[in-house]
């Protein structure tokens, strides 16, 4: 019971902070000098980006822990972080594309950060789909953990190589010093999303664990001679 309370508390705090931050971002903060109101997407975009990275980092950690410890808890958390991470990166790409159209004039640019996000999305979506095609729970857990480790090890290399690949075609404006009226909603939203993410990971990993328990604990322990 207490676990559920903690998750609910995190979810409530997260939602509360998110709505407060979004209120500040949408109505209180001043519009951007160059981009105008469109720039307000930033208040969700940047927290989504940060959290996506955090969640994938966690996925890597959980995958490693599973391979070392071989306990199902880490697999449940691994599954949860994989799925939430893929969700966030997908959202990130959609938000970014919606923002990119008015600011850059294109939905997508082959800029290192964006490209890395796309590669991450594909890599981890592939791992989710791999999990789907493996019936045996142990195989699923250890093979997908392997794939997660490989994919995570790859992300920095991708970033580095794409940045270099593309060094001549910088499209993105360098992050300008954001004015303090903008910092506050950003920070609030980031913490809100963090709390919500913690709640989501908890809940999703319970689901995974419950499924595994349903799948794995013998429902028929009739002891016979």
């Amino acid at each position: 019971m207490t676990r559920q309370r903690v998750a609910a508390a995190f979810a409530l705090v997260g939602l509360g902070l998110l709505s407060w931050g979004s209120y500040l971002g949408l109505w209180v903060a001043p519009p951007d000098r160059y981009m105008g109101d469109v720039q307000r997407i930033m208040y969700v975009h940047v927290p989504t980006a940060w959290l996506a990275l955090v969640v994938f980092t966690l996925a890597f950690v959980y995958a490693l822990l599973f391979l070392i410890r071989r306990t199902w808890r880490w697999d449940a958390l691994h599954e949860a972080t994989l799925e939430i991470g893929v969700l966030y990166t997908a959202l990130l790409c959609i938000q970014g594309a919606l923002w990119g159209k008015p600011t850059w004039g294109v939905y997508w640019a082959w800029d290192p950060r964006l490209t890395t996000v796309a590669v991450m999305l594909l890599s981890f979506a592939g791992i989710l789909s791999l999990r789907h095609f493996l019936d045996d729970p142990l195989r699923r857990a250890s093979w997908s953990a392997t794939a997660t480790i490989l994919a995570s090890a790859n992300v920095p290399v991708v970033y580095y190589s794409v940045r270099w690949w593309n060094s001549l075609h910088q499209l993105q404006s360098t992050p300008k010093t954001v004015n303090s009226a903008m910092v506050e909603p950003l920070r609030i939203n980031a913490f809100g999303l963090l709390a919500l993410t913690i709640a989501l990971i908890m809940i999703r990993s319970w689901i995974a664990e419950a499924r595994r328990r349903r799948d794995l604990a013998p429902p028929l322990p009739e002891i016979e001679a």
Binding site: D135, D136, P137, L138, D215, L216, P218, L220, I223, E224
Partner: protein
């Protein structure tokens, strides 16, 4: 020969997909004993043999082979196990002599002469395995076990697809292993053929252990009755 159990299953369970295929198996097998696995279609014989080969891990419960749990490092156990399952573990493009060479090199042993003669494949030694008939593939797979001579030998329907000569070859091989003190586990529906080769029998039905005892006491009616 020591009397340490070579196989010890304690609450052994295995789940495949959504189904519990093996449920709470408890049994032991001493080194040098040979075991007959009986049971109807879908009873779980093949699944149990794969568990014993360490190729699939138990979903629950404990399985010890050669005195150590299969959850620990399986490499040393694996070198002592030979499996002849539903598949023959052959490379379609390789010839019998390629296969024998590969297996003996992998095991780091000399290739004994006349092995292909024994399984009556000598005249086809240089044809790729994909051109072989079902029984010829099985014979080649048998040659592998004869070559490697592992300590624990797992046979899934060893008499299937073999002609009369092949069957007696298989029977001789099993008897030879028993004489050498090897442990043989044999799953078959032809229990009349299996009984003389085994000391003990284990009857499975729907993944549960229904009966275990001396092989000679197992009868066809018991197998037929176990399912219902």
């Amino acid at each position: 020969m020591n009397l340490q159990p070579i196989i010890r299953a304690d609450g052994l369970c295995r789940r495949q997909g959504l189904r519990w295929v093996l449920v709470h198996l408890n049994f032991e097998l001493q080194t040098g004993e040979s075991l007959l696995l009986a049971g109807g279609n879908g009873a779980g014989k093949s699944t149990l043999l794969r568990l014993l080969s360490t190729l699939t891990p138990p979903s629950q419960g404990e399985l010890e082979l050669f005195g150590t749990s299969v959850k620990v490092n399986r490499r040393p156990q694996r070198n002592r196990i030979g499996l002849l399952g539903h598949t023959n573990q052959l490379y379609p493009e390789l010839t019998p002599s390629d296969h024998l060479q590969l297996w003996s090199r992998l095991a780091g042993m000399e290739l004994p002469k006349g092995l292909l003669d024994r399984v009556e494949l000598a005249d086809r030694a240089h044809d790729p395995a994909r051109t072989f008939s079902a029984g010829m593939c099985k014979r080649l797979a048998l040659a592998r076990l004869m070559l490697l001579n592992p300590d624990l030998i797992l046979l899934d329907e060893p008499f299937g697809q073999l002609d009369a000569q092949g069957v007696s070859l298989m029977q001789e091989a099993v008897e030879g292993w028993r004489d050498q003190g090897k442990t043989v586990v044999l799953a078959t529906h032809l229990i009349e053929r299996g009984k003389p080769l085994c000391d003990r029998a284990l009857l499975l039905a729907h993944g549960r252990l229904k009966w275990t005892g001396p092989a000679a006491e197992l009868s066809a009616s018991m197998v037929a009755g176990a399912d219902s």
